[in-house]
């Protein structure tokens, strides 16, 4: 395979399938998902709870074994890697979680928490570790002198998320998966953290997979957006295009459901019908058809493939809106 470091995508997911066994049933969490993220790009991944977006993020890091498919990071297949090779690769990829307080060990001091990736990576020099921790804490807007010796409970949710971001950055990764990083935060703090992520991305040359259920939040930071429903991708498009001209009826439904802070815009009547079906027994054909106003018998029969409808826009729908 020809690889050109500059133009090849940093991450390429090919036909990824992830399933869980619950009792004697199979949960189809991620079904045949393919996507690419270019170097320096932010790909937003949106969908409702249970659509498989977090599972997809974890499967990229090999924290969930894939049933089939490939995860190519910088040209190398992570699904085929094991042991030391995988551990080395993981230093280049980091993860930030939704609940910043729950993802910090309450009994450890912030200095140790942020230094831990360095310890695991084998940085033995305590002075070097200290310097790198101070540098990264400064970068996320925390004063190392007032932070290092303290415990997580002494910080607010927004500050804890800054600490989590510092921990993710301390190994100078290339790629960060942000799994609902601002959902647990207040509106005023959310904007601070989103701005910080953008700043860190520019400063450290990061590539991001930004997972969230809030479309407006995703739009604020993403170059392209992938919409996921019940384990499958519905639509992938540059942010501006996706929001201006959604092609998939599900994308349109998500957009209409967002509450607008303007009393002159009356909430749309009956924007959404019903709830997502269970991923244990997803509908045949198009998985969205049970809630879709455009569904017909073809949708029940045939799984729609993700196909291009514009220069950079792809949609998996038999009856797209554009």
């Amino acid at each position: 395979m020809m690889q050109q470091a500059a133009t090849s995508p940093l991450l390429k997911v090919e036909n990824l399938v992830v399933e869980y066994v619950v009792g004697n049933k199979i949960v189809h969490a991620v079904s045949d998902v393919s996507l690419e993220i270019a170097r320096g790009e932010t790909l937003g991944l949106v969908g409702e709870s249970g659509c498989g977006k977090s599972t997809l993020g974890r499967a990229v890091l090999q924290l969930r074994p894939a049933v089939s498919g490939k995860v190519l990071f910088d040209g190398e297949d992570l699904t085929a890697m094991q042991g030391e090779a995988l551990r080395k690769m993981r230093r280049r990829v980091q993860l930030i979680f939704q609940d910043p307080i729950a993802s910090l060990n309450p009994r450890r001091r912030i200095g140790d928490i942020v230094a831990e990736p360095l310890v695991i990576a084998g940085v033995r020099d305590a002075k070097e570790r200290h310097d790198r921790v101070c540098k990264v804490l400064n970068a996320v807007g925390l004063d190392p002198a007032l932070t290092i010796g303290r415990l997580p409970h002494e910080f607010s949710g927004g500050q804890c998320q800054r600490i989590c971001i510092a921990r993710a950055l301390v190994l100078n990764p290339e790629f960060i998966i942000c799994d609902e990083p601002v959902s647990a935060l207040d509106v005023s703090i959310r904007a601070q953290i989103l701005n910080l992520l953008e700043e860190m991305k520019a400063r450290f040359g990061l590539t991001l997979l930004f997972i969230a259920h809030d479309l407006a939040v995703v739009k604020a930071v993403s170059d392209r957006v992938a919409v996921m429903y019940l384990g499958r991708l519905c639509e992938v498009a540059p942010s501006e295009e996706l929001f201006a001209r959604p092609a998939h009826p599900y994308t349109a439904l998500l957009l209409e459901a967002i509450p607008v802070p303007d009393p002159d815009i009356k909430p749309a009547e009956r924007v959404a019908v019903g709830e997502p079906p269970s991923p244990i027994a997803p509908p045949s054909g198009c998985r969205f058809r049970t809630r879709c106003p455009r569904a017909d018998e073809r949708c029940a029969r045939e799984v729609p493939e993700l196909r291009p409808v514009g220069p950079r826009q792809s949609v998996a729908c038999h009856h797209p809106l554009t």
Binding site: A191, V217, K219, P259
Partner: protein, 331 residues
């Protein structure tokens, strides 16, 4: 305020003793709500909005000290007996919480919980209560209600559970429904459905409703009045239309600006509010928002701004440097 108020909250303060000293969760709040009206209370975590709703419901933690008066339907709730309060909460004063799992009993079926409520408070017989339960579940948009009656809460999705919690809250035809972050735990499509459901039932029953939320978007199209809270106080209060047309309090403006908007191009830095709310056990002498406020100057740090009326008496704000220009904040 048109007509007699169904609910009057008069100079209500709530103090909680903590190891770090006294925590004033709610500070001198006045609110009025007429029958059939909807009030939105907006604020971030820790601003006292939930404590205020607890004070209205008389469900404060045991150690909390309540000052001021809560008059509901002509009665001062602070001086009601436990039995009278129980009756009131059962019949006229209902609440829906953020997490429906905390209000539903996990070991009882949906049917048992609904039927029990109806039998206890409306004195219906078993058959009538069961019939009514089915009707209520259907009214809140639960498909196949008869089957749902025999299911347990864990067998339902989050959205369905919230519908059941709303059905129970509506079961005794309350005069006032307090919805405390009713959709925060739910997905955006389900949130829209639940908000629609609440609005529909509120109109149909001519019920008064308080929606407590951190999201200005939730209250914009669905309330008559909005009260914005910060650090335990109401800092701006207005008819919803008037508020969104012209915000006077810098905090309200900053809160609205900090919400990511769909119209904004990607990678536009958000106008974040720097810093964070003050420690409620260390109240500031002046305006609580002053350390984060870009207009703060002079007496903001030494004096608490009182809530004063703007052009119209119903629109009030607590600020020494109010925003006056009629800028369209949502454009």
């Amino acid at each position: 305020m048109n007509g007699a108020a169904l609910l009057s909250v008069e100079a209500v303060s709530v103090d909680l003793p903590t190891v770090r000293g006294n925590l004033r969760a709610v500070d001198q709040v006045d609110l009025h709500l007429a029958a059939g009206q909807t009030l939105g209370i907006v604020g971030e975590s820790g601003c006292g909005k939930t404590m205020l709703s607890r004070a209205i419901l008389q469900l404060l933690p045991k150690k909390a000290k309540l000052a001021g008066r809560v008059i509901f339907d002509g009665q001062d709730l602070a001086h009601c007996s436990a039995e009278a309060l129980r009756k009131l909460r059962a019949r006229s004063l209902a609440v829906v919480f953020q997490d429906p799992m905390t209000s539903l009993n996990p070991v009882l079926t949906i049917g048992t919980q609904l039927i029990e409520t109806l039998q206890e408070h409306l004195e219906l017989d078993a058959a009538a209560a069961k019939r009514r339960s089915g009707e209520l579940l259907a009214a809140v948009g639960i498909p196949a209600p008869e089957q749902r009656l025999s299911q347990y809460p864990h067998q339902l999705s989050g959205g369905m559970r919230q519908r059941v919690a709303i059905a129970i809250a509506l079961s005794c035809e309350p005069k006032l429904l307090i919805a405390d972050e009713p959709t925060t735990a739910l997905d955006v499509t389900i949130q829209a459905q639940i908000l629609d459901l609440l609005a529909r039932e509120q109109k149909r029953r001519h019920m008064a409703m308080i929606i407590i939320t951190h999201d200005l978007g939730v209250v914009a199209g669905r309330t008559d009045d909005v009260a914005v809270m910060y650090a335990g106080r109401v800092v701006e209060r207005a008819p919803t239309q008037a508020l969104f047309k012209q915000m006077h309090m810098p905090y309200t403006e900053a809160l609205l600006a900090a919400i990511p908007k769909l119209e904004t191009a990607p990678h536009t830095p958000l106008p974040a509010i720097s810093g964070r709310p003050p420690d409620p056990t260390r109240p500031l002498k002046g305006c609580s928002f002053s350390p984060r406020c870009r207009y703060a100057a002079g007496r903001c740090e030494s004096e608490k701004p009182p809530l004063v009326p703007a052009e119209m008496a119903a629109h009030q704000y607590a600020c020494f440097h109010p925003i006056r220009l009629a800028a369209d904040a949502t454009a």
